[in-house]
């Protein structure tokens, strides 16, 4: 099992989740995040331009069994891409164990 954490543009959120649902990934958490990266966001106020100091993005947290990993990554890479700086990143980590609280099932059964 793998945990896929993807930081994507908030504007791409709906497209990505819909496309993931199509390939069968329906279980996920998501939240609004702020951070730094290559991109800078400048705003102006009353004649002075300033660096806002952070970029807002949406972070998806998806846990999949190994067979779902490839389509998940492929979908996010394809849909969340605009080609401009700031499209985001994907982190994949190996998961030791997963439990379903209701039944106590373990591993891929729990997904």
């Amino acid at each position: 099992m793998k945990k896929v954490e993807a930081i994507i543009r908030t504007s791409k959120f709906e497209e990505v989740t819909e496309a993931l649902a199509e390939v069968g990934v329906t279980f996920m958490s998501f939240y609004e995040v702020k951070g730094h990266g290559l991109e800078k966001e400048y705003q102006t106020y009353r004649g002075a331009t300033y660096d806002v100091g952070y970029i807002p993005r949406t972070k998806l947290e998806i846990v999949v069994s190994d067979s779902f990993l490839e389509p998940t990554l492929e979908t996010i890479l394809r849909i969340a891409k605009t080609g401009k700086v700031g499209d985001g990143k994907i982190f994949v980590t190996h998961l030791e164990e997963v439990y379903r609280i209701r039944t106590g099932e373990q591993g891929s059964e729990a997904l």
Partner: protein, 414 residues
Amino acid sequence: MEAAFVTNNLWILISAILVFIMHLGFATLETGFTQSKNTVNILFKNTTIVPIGLLTYAFWGFNLMYPGEDYAGSFFGFAGFGLEPPAGANDGTYNANYTYWTDFIFQAMFAATAATIVSGAVAERIKLNSFLVFTLFYVGICYPITGMWDWGGGFLEGLETPFYDFAGSTLVHSVGGWAALAGVILIGARKGKYVDGKIRPIPGHSMPLATVGVFLLWFGWYGFNGGSVLSADPGTLSLVFVTTSLAAAAGAIGALFTSLVVIRSNDLSMVLNGILGGLVGITAGADQMGVTDAILIGFLAGIIVVIAVVTIDRLRLDDPVGAISVHLVCGIWGTLAVGLFGGLASVSQVITQLIGIVCVGAFCFAFAFGLFYILKKTLGLRVSEEEEMEGLDIGEHKMRAYPDINKPAEKVYS
């Protein structure tokens, strides 16, 4: 009772209501242009200024500003404490167009404006008590004294070419603007505004509130200028409505173009300031200008206000709402414009206007600077650094303006 007397009197009373609502305009504008952590403090100041203004004006201000003909041509006059209606106060003998009470309440509504202007400029860092003491003395004493110089029949009115300030570009707006300048100089910039030689903007927290404020001020300005006709004379009053509207509109467009060219941005806050700049600009000569004059005065005020905001910021004078640019700079411009455009335009009028600007400016700046300086050495002007960071709402009032606003944002995903 004659119908004309009733109509005139009623119009000035309606104008008093319109000027009254301008205080709400100032309150919302200043709230919108500052951070949410200081909102209760801003509203508290704007809410207490009006009562202080009305009461001091009733106790002594009205008689200090309008001491009567005994003091014609002088620098100072005082007709005693309290309100004492003279014989014939309400039947047309006191004035052919309005009663004594109307005269008082219309002028009283103006009085608090001078301190409201200062409130925005020193916002987010001034100690509440010091500001209230300042308001008491500035609205109670300084404003009526300089007002008397022209409107009360004082020496500016007695000049060979009389100083002309129709509704108060100098006597109201610059009076507030000079004190704003003195306050900003003495109190210093907000923490984090100028760091390492760079300007770091501290954006206001609500552009909608600021916009509501400007529309309320524009709305009230029909009473501010319209009531200053001091009658419902159809020709003059309707002209004043036209010049006031056109100057505000031209101010908006002037500021729009200037911010596009100078700061390369469609900055709403600048267009809002442009509207106010145009209104302040036309105020001194609203009844003297033609259509073209009003548009030119307003348009130039819109240009001036944007350049003033940027310049004042570069001078490291931290004015969160642009009060100095709108009320002082455009107030001076509007007062000068009386000598340059319209019915009174002449070289001698320009000189008189300059005399008025300098005399009122010198007195108000000295008065405000002295008052702020004494407060700085006694009560202290500035809140502590920690309080400034935490916000004056908690520091000065132990409450927040939006105690439940930091709940997670709700979004509906279908």
